[in-house]
């Protein structure tokens, strides 16, 4: 059956009158991140994240008090090297899971994407906006953790509780957070189901990558420079002197040799930067191609 008023020839594109005022991609991303962050900060997940940090902080404070510092409180480098350099990644992994795990998958599963994607907005803006919001919410958690540490540091060490090396380490931790969120967003983009996305992220970052790294070193005997976990110790490098040797080969009692690898400072930073850039672009690539079926 034929349809009555059907177009036969392409019409020339005409500029609609209200199109010019739509903000640019980055302006929209920033605006979206503001509202998404507000949503995060009011949600139960934020309370949960703060409770996790508070619990970690409480345990740490108790241990320090019970063991009277046990050598940690003698110098700020030793203190922050252990508590910050060796602990902040746990806070970041939890915040990555909580704020980023379902960030993109949830757009499909919870149908929030139908609200946003009907607007004149590029998917890049949505992706970047949500990434910035997750970064912002994670930073709040990280700063809370830092505040707990500085409080303890001030109690035990007084004025020396805030060394310059802490700022340097904070910068590296921020890079780790970017790389982590990049990877989390990549997995979140690959799944339309929030639960799968959160599960994969949790398994990989809490123990999966560590197991893979150890297996690679033990069985394949190569430097695992392609695993994000391998680069993590550089967060503590500003407090570490001298830095650990890049390759350490030790001979066991039966004559067998064991090789362990430590990232160099530059290598660690390069791995984290590479992870961030590659996963962010790959995640966006997937999100651009996912359909709201």
């Amino acid at each position: 059956m034929s349809a009555a008023p059907v177009a036969s020839a392409p019409g020339a594109p005409v500029e609609p009158p209200r199109a010019d005022g739509v903000p640019g991609t980055w302006t929209q991303a920033l605006l979206l991140s503001r509202y998404q962050l507000r949503d995060y900060l009011r949600a139960r997940r934020f309370v949960l994240m703060m409770a996790i940090v508070a619990a970690i902080g409480a345990i740490l404070t108790f241990v320090l008090a019970y063991f009277h510092g046990a050598g940690l409180t003698g110098s700020s480098d030793a203190f922050y090297g252990s508590t910050w350099g060796g602990g902040v990644y746990v806070v970041m992994i939890f915040s990555g899971i909580i704020f980023g795990g379902d960030a993109i998958a949830g757009e499909f599963q919870n149908k929030t994407g139908y609200f946003l994607m009907g607007l004149p907005i590029r998917r890049t803006s949505v992706y970047v906006g949500k990434f910035l919001a997750a970064l912002g919410a994670s930073l709040v958690a990280v700063l809370f953790y830092l505040a707990i540490l500085v409080g303890n540091g001030a109690y035990y060490m007084g004025a020396g509780a805030f060394p310059v090396t802490l700022l340097e380490s904070f910068g590296i931790a921020l890079l780790y957070l970017l790389a982590l969120l990049g990877a989390v967003f990549l997995f979140s983009s690959m799944f339309k189901n929030s639960l799968y996305a959160v599960l994969v992220v949790a398994v990989l970052f809490l123990f999966g990558f560590t197991i893979i790294e150890e297996l690679i070193v033990a069985l394949v005997k190569i430097e695992p420079w392609f695993i994000i976990d391998y680069a993590r110790p550089v967060i503590a490098y500003p407090f570490t002197s001298p830095l650990p040797a890049h390759v350490v080969t030790s001979t066991g009692p039966r004559g067998g040799t064991t090789t362990t690898y430590n990232p160099t400072y530059a290598e660690g930073l390069a791995i984290l930067t590479g992870y961030f850039l590659i996963t962010a672009v790959a995640g966006l690539f997937f999100f651009e191609r996912e359909e709201f079926t």
Partner: protein, 316 residues
């Protein structure tokens, strides 16, 4: 410029299944068009491709002459969209959500405030403007979604079953809103299962079945073209109608093809010949002096067309 949407060879396949098959449809001007079809006909698929939520296997969708696939941002700039029942970030209030929508659309702050108040009032959500959306019922959320769609006063509105989730009062209010919108310089294109809603507010209808467009025309043309045959009419009298009267005078009225009894006072007549024949039968029934109290079509004309064109298996 006059608002327009156009599907050019728009096709979508999901594996071996063709959800939409080379749809060619251009709708232009200030009007309200009902997009009809049974479940699985391809209505939502079409609207999703018009909003770039899914991608065509072939063809393109245009809004105001701009390809959605080539430049979704520009194409959707003057378009309000409501597909399915979207969720809004639960911790935000309607006012904040509309603030965000207005900002993303490039509206300035005073305009957002003024339009927010107006559209929230239009969807009867003013008193809930500062409550968290996460606690709202499905119907309340849909009202906020409609408000969001109307916020920027768009030239083109694409609505996918906008009454979904609303109570009868809400359905009536949405109908009033759509009716109000079409009086302005705007093209409203909406899918619906409610034929009465379409008859009530639409100027034109497009019917889709099994991914193919069966027709797109004005309501009058559609019913005229497809209902040249018989129409069922229910008639009711104050007094009982004896069989001999029905068999004789009533059956003999020009245009009456068959009659069946519902009860002593009510009959169902099949009338051929369109509106003119119905008018003659009505006059003839009044002339019987049996106290004619009702003369109404058993089904609306659009419903007759729908049922004649859309069958369970294949299109007619």
């Amino acid at each position: 410029m006059s608002p327009s949407i156009e599907a050019r060879n728009l096709t979508r396949r999901f594996g071996a299944f063709t959800a939409l098959d080379h749809l060619n449809l251009k709708v232009e001007g200030s009007k309200c068009v009902g997009f009809l079809g049974p479940n699985g006909a391809g209505k939502t698929t079409t609207l999703k491709m018009f909003t770039d939520l899914i991608f065509p296997s072939e063809g393109e969708a245009f809004i105001n002459g701009i390809s959605v696939q080539a430049d979704r941002k520009q194409a959707l700039a003057s378009c309000g969209v409501l597909i399915e029942t979207p969720e809004i970030y639960g911790s935000l209030t309607p006012r904040e959500a509309l603030d965000m929508v207005g900002g993303l659309r490039g509206m300035d702050a005073p305009e957002i405030r003024e339009r927010t108040d107006r559209v929230l009032d239009e969807v009867r959500m003013t008193e809930w403007a500062d409550h968290k959306i996460g606690r709202f019922s499905k119907g309340m959320k849909q009202r906020v979604n409609i408000a969001s769609t109307l916020l920027s006063d768009p030239m083109v509105l694409l609505l996918d079953e906008p009454s979904t989730g609303l109570d009868p009062r809400g359905v009536a209010e949405v109908r009033d809103i759509i009716r109000g919108l079409k009086s302005e310089n705007r093209l409203v294109f909406f899918s619906s299962h409610l034929l009465s809603e379409v008859v009530d507010v639409c100027d034109e209808v497009a019917l889709l079945n099994h991914g193919k467009l069966l027709f797109y025309d004005t309501l009058a043309n559609v019913t005229g073209r497809f209902l040249a045959g018989a129409t069922e009419v229910s008639v009711e009298f104050l007094e009982p109608v004896p069989d001999d009267l029905a068999r004789g005078s009533i059956a003999a009225l020009p245009g009456v093809q068959t009659w069946t009894r519902q009860d002593p006072q009510r009959l169902t007549l099949t009338i051929a010949g369109g509106p003119a024949a119905k008018a003659r039968v009505l006059e003839g029934l009044v002339a019987l002096h049996k106290g004619l109290v009702a003369f109404k079509e058993s089904r609306s004309a659009l419903e007759e067309v729908y049922l004649s064109q859309v069958t369970d298996g294949e299109s007619a």
